[in-house]
C-alpha cells in the first residue's frame, strides 16, 4: 500500500526548489498542504489542541529556516515530520510537562498516526463536542450505501490506492474516485450542523 504518491513527492520537490530560489509564496503552498497533518502529529506529543497549533507553526518556521540545507536525501514530508517531532519534544522538555518517549522517531510517525489517540488536555466541552463529532461520523459511515462504505473503508483503514480498490471491487478507477468523494460528502453533510 502506498503512503505517498510520486506525484505528491514531485510537487513537494518543485515547491521546495521554488522556495530555495527565493519564492516565499511557494512555501505557503507547502504549509497549506501539510498544516493538518503536522498539527495532528504535534498533538500526539503535546496533547493540547491549542498549543499544538503554536508548536506546529514553530515547526513550519524552523523548517523554512533549514530549507537552505535541504538536499533531498529524504522526501520533504519525512524531513518536515522529523522537524515537527523534534519541535514538539523540545517544547515538552522546555515546559517539563511530561516525560517524552525518546524512542519515538520519524520512522514511527506514520505508524503512530494510526494509533488511537489518548485524549489530553482538552476542555470538557471541547472533548464532548469531539466525541459527538466522531460518533456522528461513525453513524454516517454506517448508513452509507454498501459500495461507498467499502470504498472509503479500504482507502482509510487499509490505505489502498484507487487502483487497488478498483481491482478489489472490480470496477473502474473513476467509479472508486466518485464513490469515495460521495462518501465524504455524505459524512460532511451530517457534520455541518455540529460545526456551524
Amino acid at each position: 500500500m502506498k503512503s505517498h504518491s510520486r506525484a505528491s513527492e514531485q510537487l513537494d520537490e518543485d515547491l521546495v526548489l521554488r522556495v530555495q530560489q527565493g519564492d516565499k509564496s511557494a512555501y505557503d503552498l507547502l504549509v497549506i498542504k501539510y498544516q493538518h497533518k503536522i498539527v495532528q502529529l504535534v498533538n500526539r506529543y503535546v496533547k493540547d489542541p491549542s498549543e499544538s497549533q503554536d508548536v506546529a507553526q514553530e515547526a513550519f518556521i524552523k523548517a523554512y529556516r533549514a530549507l537552505g540545507s535541504f538536499r533531498g536525501e529524504s522526501a520533504f514530508y519525512t524531513w518536515l515530520y522529523r522537524i515537527a517531532i523534534n519541535t514538539a519534544k523540545n517544547y515538552l522538555m522546555s515546559r517539563s510537562r511530561r516525560n517524552v518517549d525518546m524512542q519515538i522517531d520519524v520512522q514511527d510517525a506514520e505508524v503512530y498516526e494510526n494509533l488511537p489517540q489518548l485524549h489530553g488536555q482538552e476542555t470538557p466541552e471541547r472533548e464532548l463536542l469531539s466525541r459527538e463529532i466522531v460518533e456522528t461520523i461513525k453513524t454516517a459511515i454506517a448508513k452509507l450505501p454498501e459500495e461507498m462504505r467499502i470504498a472509503i473503508m479500504l482507502r482509510e483503514f487499509e490505505g489502498m490506492s484507487y487502483e487497488e480498490i478498483a481491482q478489489a471491487m472490480d470496477c473502474p478507477v473513476g467509479t472508486v474516485r466518485s464513490r469515495i468523494f460521495r462518501a465524504r460528502e455524505a459524512i460532511d453533510s451530517k457534520l455541518n450542523p455540529l460545526l456551524d
Partner: protein, 182 residues
C-alpha cells in the same frame, strides 16, 4: 463551490491527484477560504475515521505562518547547490534505463543462443551415444590406476626443458622440439 473542485480535494487528500492539478488546487486554496474549509473538514473526517479524534489546523494557520515568514530572510541559493533534484531525477531515470537495457541484452542473448529444435532422428542418436555419468567409485579407481606422482612426472617430462626423469641421454620433449625447429 464547484463539485469538480471538491472532488479534486478528495483526490488530493488521497494522493491521487496529478502534480499539476495539485499545484493549481493549492493555489486556489490560498485565496478561496471555502475550499480551504472543505479541505479542513475532509482532513478531520479522515482523522476521525482512523483515530477517533478530531483535530485540524486552525482556519488562520496558514495566514499566521505566512505573516511570520515575512520576518524571515528570502533564500537566494546559488545554482550549484540547487541541482539536488535534477541529480535525483537523473539518477532515477538512469537506473530505469540501465535496467531496461540489461533486460534487452539478456533477451537478445537468450534469443540468439537458443538452440534450433532437434529433429526426432537427432534425439534418438543422442540417446544412443549418451553415456551415463561416471560413478564416484569409478573415478577413484581410475585415479588409483594412474597415481598422482606418475601424472606429475609425465607432465614435467613432456613440458620441461631440463627434466630428465633420472634417465641417461634422455632428451625431454620440449628440448627435442626446440632442436628440430633449429
Amino acid at each position: 463551490m464547484h463539485e469538480d473542485l471538491i472532488q479534486k480535494i478528495s483526490q488530493f487528500l488521497d494522493d491521487e491527484l496529478p502534480e499539476e492539478e495539485s499545484l493549481r488546487l493549492l493555489q486556489k486554496m490560498r485565496t478561496h477560504s471555502e475550499l480551504a474549509g472543505k479541505m479542513r473538514r475532509y482532513e478531520a473526517i479522515k482523522q476521525a475515521i482512523k483515530n477517533d479524534e478530531l483535530i485540524s489546523a486552525a482556519p488562520d494557520f496558514v495566514a499566521s505562518v505566512s505573516s511570520q515568514l515575512q520576518q524571515e530572510p528570502t533564500y537566494l541559493i546559488p545554482n550549484t547547490t540547487r541541482h539536488w533534484i535534477r541529480h535525483r531525477h537523473f539518477g532515477r531515470s538512469h537506473k530505469i534505463a540501465a535496467a531496461a537495457a540489461s533486460v534487452a541484452v539478456i533477451a537478445f542473448v537468450a534469443h540468439t543462443q537458443r538452440p534450433e529444435p532437434a529433429s526426432p532422428v537427432q534425439i534418438a542418436a543422442v540417446k544412443e551415444t549418451a553415456k551415463p555419468a561416471p560413478q564416484l567409485a569409478e573415478v577413484k579407481a581410475s585415479r588409483n590406476a594412474y597415481p598422482v606422482n606418475q601424472q606429475i612426472s609425465d607432465y614435467l617430462q613432456a613440458h620441461s626443458s631440463i627434466y630428465t626423469n633420472s634417465q641417461a641421454d634422455f632428451q625431454p620433449y620440449a628440448q627435442v622440439t626446440h632442436y628440430s625447429q633449429k
